[in-house]
């Protein structure tokens, strides 16, 4: 549409050229308006999180620069007095193992599904495909009862296991697809050289799959960090709850105290946003892997 037709440009009559100029202008305006709509909500809350409480109550954030009065007090208050600091650490304690374990168990399973001819393989693949769309809501009550019975409710071990299990179908699906796209010759020649499956898996397949593992790892990290539902049910104890559950609890008391809610929201967003900007390519790849078929 844009500049591909340089040679023909001289042929275009002036009236048509004016029309093209108008439509170009429309494209810019539309994109500009969408960008403003998409940015305004977050920017507004971000500015608010740095404004003193009285200022928030007496004037809109859009007037915050005249006169400019900003403070870090909201963040200090929320991190210390409102427990967001502890929750922030809890989120890491929940998320890191809940990212590593699914990656580990899914990759060995995916290796077998992609490269070992064993009986039941096809059935297993169908089950995993079916489970991809199953809502976890259907599992919550029995899992909670099971956890209560084994005293796992509210423990880190419990939520690690739960997230590992819930992450399994997507992780296996993504990795099986990736592993089976690796060139057969490399694996065959390793086998001829006498390498067993464990060596092929750990020395060849895993190193070749770093981009896929990175995408999946980042996806799982973000998913667990941002999860509310699972943590709400299994980690509701204030001492061990992650940021999402903490925010939900703060909302009960401080729903309209925007100096608290805004800072709390941005503390919870800080890690996902950093991961997003640093590793955007892998994050997008992991997120879209389920929708785009290979």
């Amino acid at each position: 549409m844009a500049a591909i037709v340089t040679p023909t440009q001289q042929v275009i009559p002036p009236r048509k050229r004016r029309k093209i100029a108008v439509s170009r202008w429309l494209v810019h305006v539309t994109l500009f308006v969408l960008a403003v709509i998409w940015l305004t909500p977050s920017v507004g809350l971000l500015i608010t999180s740095f404004r003193p409480r009285e200022a928030i109550a007496s004037s809109g954030w859009w007037t915050a620069f005249t006169p400019a009065r900003f403070t870090f007090e909201n963040y200090a208050l929320v991190l210390n007095a409102q427990g967001m600091g502890d929750s922030f650490l809890n989120s890491f304690k929940i998320t890191l193992p809940s990212t590593f374990f699914p990656l580990f168990f899914a990759s060995i399973a995916a290796y077998a599904l992609a490269w070992v001819q064993f009986r039941g393989r096809n059935v297993l693949q169908l089950v995993i495909l079916a489970l991809l769309v199953i809502p976890i809501q259907i599992t919550l009550v029995p899992v909670l009862q099971f956890f209560n019975q084994f005293k796992l409710t509210g423990t880190y071990l419990g939520i690690w296991i739960a997230h590992t299990a819930y992450g399994m179908p997507f992780a296996i699906y993504l990795l099986t697809n990736f592993f089976s796209s690796l060139p057969r010759e490399i694996l065959e020649s390793a086998k001829i050289d006498g390498a067993n499956h464990w060596v092929i898996f750990s020395r060849i397949v895993i190193p070749l799959s770093v981009p896929a593992l990175a995408s999946l790892g980042i996806f799982q990290f973000m998913w667990v960090w941002n999860d509310l539902l699972v943590a709400l049910i299994f980690m509701s104890d204030p001492a061990s709850q992650p940021v999402t559950v903490r925010i939900q609890a703060l909302l009960g008391t401080y729903a309209t105290e925007w100096h608290i809610m805004s800072a709390a929201a941005f503390i919870s967003m800080s890690i996902p946003l950093m991961v997003f900007f640093a590793l955007q390519r892998y994050f997008v790849a992991g997120l879209t892997a389920g929708a785009v078929k290979t």
């Binding site: 089950v127 739960a162 179908p169």
Partner: protein
């Protein structure tokens, strides 16, 4: 051969245990609970189809056809399905196509995509802020009062007739970036010659878009539409954070109702029936997934 069997099962063993213990067995158990009172999260008192019958005949928060338009979580979910899917896929398509022709493509796509990185919880707080009825906080009401000084601020999340649309707008804000990224990738994969041929034949960009780009993107549009529909059927967080189903139950959707009945109202059997309905709504997508896999295996 048998060596491979042993080895294969050894490799998938941990994954299979987790899947059976946390997904398959609980699903069966939830189906069982849906025919029970389920107090204490286990079968206590068999009630047959009572939970299902009550959901569709006595629960005006779930299914209410006594008035027009119908009310309840089922119908709110239908409204979500239509508006949310059209909004995310439609705006995603517009941004993908328009951004393709400008130099700041990466910038605009990043801006639209950012909400995908944050939690629905944080997004919910952001939009509660936008919708605040206080004109010193909520920008929507500030604009409204700025334009019409005599108007009253609108409590967007407090009005039965507006709340669902307000929530859906927040949902669209989150998910449009996802649709945009996938559509944009598909768009760049289209053979350029066809577009150029059409332009040489005198088609303007409007015609090229409707007659060539859209039909060729159709398979991708179908895939992301499916993804968005599944999202709505599972959705919970945004409604829980922004309205908790209110005002007076007006913004409940199916995924929220399951949580609410089970964990807030203390009726696990009843909530399980809702979960089973969610599962039934998902079944067509299970079949689509499996069929797609079969086709891939053959080709």
């Amino acid at each position: 051969m048998s060596k491979n069997n042993l080895l294969g099962w050894f490799f998938v063993f941990p994954a299979v245990i987790l899947i059976v213990a946390f997904l398959i067995y609980p699903t069966i158990r939830t189906i069982q609970l849906s025919f029970d009172k389920g107090l204490g999260f286990k079968p206590t008192e068999y009630v047959g189809f009572d939970n299902y019958v009550n959901l569709f005949t006595r629960d005006r928060f779930f299914f209410d056809i006594s008035q027009f338009p119908p009310h309840g979580a089922v119908f709110n979910t239908v409204v979500w399905l239509v508006l949310f899917t059209v909004g995310t896929v439609g705006i995603g398509l517009v941004v993908a196509v328009l951004a393709n022709s400008v130099r700041y493509e990466v910038l605009i796509k990043t801006i639209i995509f950012i909400p995908m990185a944050i939690s629905f919880t944080a997004a919910g707080i952001i939009w509660r802020f936008v919708y605040s009825p206080d004109v010193n906080t909520g920008i929507l009401n500030a604009i409204l009062i700025g334009l019409f000084p005599s108007a009253d601020p609108i409590p967007w999340l407090g009005r039965i007739d507006i709340v669902n649309v307000a929530l859906i707008v927040a949902g669209i804000w989150i998910w449009t970036g996802f649709c945009m990224v996938i559509l944009s990738a598909a768009l760049k994969g289209l053979p350029q010659e066809i577009m150029e041929a059409a332009q040489v034949d005198g088609a303007n960009s409007w015609q090229t878009f409707w007659k060539i780009t859209i039909p060729m993107l159709m398979p991708t549009i179908a895939v992301i539409t499916t993804t968005m529909v599944i999202n709505v059927l599972k959705a919970f967080d945004l409604v829980y954070i922004m309205t908790a189903g209110g005002p007076r139950g007006a913004s409940r959707i199916i995924g929220f109702t399951m949580y609410w009945e089970t964990f807030q109202n203390g009726k696990p059997g009843y909530g399980s029936a809702v979960a089973v309905i969610m599962l039934l709504l998902m079944l067509p997508f299970v079949i689509v997934n499996i069929r797609r896999f079969r086709n891939q295996e053959q080709s």
